[in-house]
């Protein structure tokens, strides 16, 4: 007789959710300075393989968010400088990013943020998963941010140039990656330019020295819906994560083409992340 075995369902929970179904409030420090850590959970209930981070409820100002683990006063950043740039209408709850990173059971999880406006607030919740989404086979151990501009709580500016639907110049995200990466994450932002029109971008990611960039990913689509909800987002929340390996010690750059040519609205900010 053949016995059918059902694997135990992977566990899933939410950290940082309050009793009124709001997120944990993060308060930025002075302008462009990280604020204090806010606890999302005192102890992870299981070993986490992936985190789905939701950011929302903030004014229309650029922010960078850190996720960290560790006891009070000794938090270690595990996901640095998550770019969060609400559009003109302020934050929606549509800023989701997926991080395939392993965190040990029992760890305290916390978050903090900085904002171009001092003492600005926002909210965060994290879905904690004991398994990975999609075809990612292994969660990561380390994440580094490429191109975060902590001086203005934004990212690296990418200019598609004045020619419609033609790739612009490569913008450097990092001169040298710190470790070999199995995947990269891209988060686009408005770059403090709000009141945008509808626009589409096709984004390339490349590695190598200036003038000899080799394509890693081509025509990753990002979108600005324009009108009041003019934040910039990728085509889908999980579409930011690209399963392309990047060696250690290489320069990473991005370029883009755009559906508009006006010199302000064709620009966007971006922060890249290498996942080990």
């Amino acid at each position: 007789m053949r016995r059918l075995l059902s694997p135990a369902s992977p566990r899933w929970t939410v950290a940082g959710m309050t009793t009124v179904i709001a997120g944990t409030v993060l308060t930025a420090g002075t302008a462009n300075v990280k604020g204090s850590w806010a606890q999302l959970t005192s102890a992870l209930p299981f070993s986490v393989d992936a985190i789905l981070v939701r950011l929302g409820v903030g004014t229309a100002a650029d922010r960078l968010v850190d996720l960290g683990v560790g006891p009070v006063g000794d938090e270690q950043v595990v996901v640095p400088d998550i770019l969060f740039t609400p559009g003109t209408a302020g934050a929606t709850d549509r800023h989701w990013t997926y991080w395939p990173i392993r965190l040990p059971s029992g760890s305290r999880l916390a978050a903090r943020c900085q904002c171009v406006t001092g003492a600005a607030t926002m909210e965060i919740t994290c879905e904690l998963r004991e398994s990975l989404l999609g075809r990612h086979r292994q969660s990561g151990q380390q994440i580094e941010a490429w191109g975060a501009a902590t001086a203005d709580s934004g990212g690296t500016s990418v200019d598609p140039g004045a020619t419609l639907h033609t790739k612009g110049a490569w913008s450097q995200l990092t001169a040298s990656t710190g470790f070999p990466c199995r995947a990269i994450q891209l988060i686009p932002g408005v770059g403090s330019n709000r009141g945008r029109v509808y626009a589409r971008w096709g984004v390339d990611v490349g590695i190598g020295p200036s003038g000899d960039e080799q394509l890693l990913a081509e025509n990753v689509r990002i979108l600005c819906t324009g009108s009041a909800r003019d934040e910039i987002s990728p085509f889908s929340g999980l579409g930011r994560l690209l399963p392309v390996p990047v060696p250690a010690g290489v320069r990473v750059a991005m370029r883009a083409q755009c559906s508009v040519t006006n010199s302000a609205d064709r620009l966007f900010d971006v922060v890249g992340y290498g996942i080990r």
């Binding site: 302020g90 200019d159 110049a169 006006n262 302000a264």
Partner: protein
């Protein structure tokens, strides 16, 4: 820290940037500056250098209202004090939707895709 900007010699089109020394290939040239170009600057293919990016000018929806005949008829019968009251109330009402991109319609969310 100096930054190098690689561009095409023939067209002037900007190709790439780097904070490391860049050796141009045949048909390319490098423009070096003492710091990275700010977002307020943009590459000019004619002069092969960075120029100031034109400032973005937004339109005021209060100015849009002034062009609508139905609003003009109401505005015309108000005295200065009532006009001020109406303007103040409208600014409160439309809040952050007051200023719009020049390419967008005056109607709030009117051009949403």
């Amino acid at each position: 820290m100096p930054w190098s900007y690689l561009h095409d010699l023939t067209t002037g089109r900007l190709l790439s940037e780097s904070d490391a020394t860049v050796v141009p290939k045949v048909g390319q040239a490098v423009h070096v500056r003492t710091n990275r170009a700010a977002e307020a600057e943009m590459w000019d293919e004619a002069t092969r250098t960075f120029v100031a990016r034109p400032p973005k000018v937004l339109a005021d929806r209060l100015d849009d209202l002034q062009t609508w005949p139905e609003f003009q008829r109401v505005w015309a019968v108000l005295n200065a004090a009532r006009r001020t009251d109406l303007r103040t109330a409208l600014i409160r009402l439309i809040g952050r939707h007051r200023f719009r991109n020049q390419a967008e319609p005056a109607e709030i969310d009117g051009g949403e895709k």
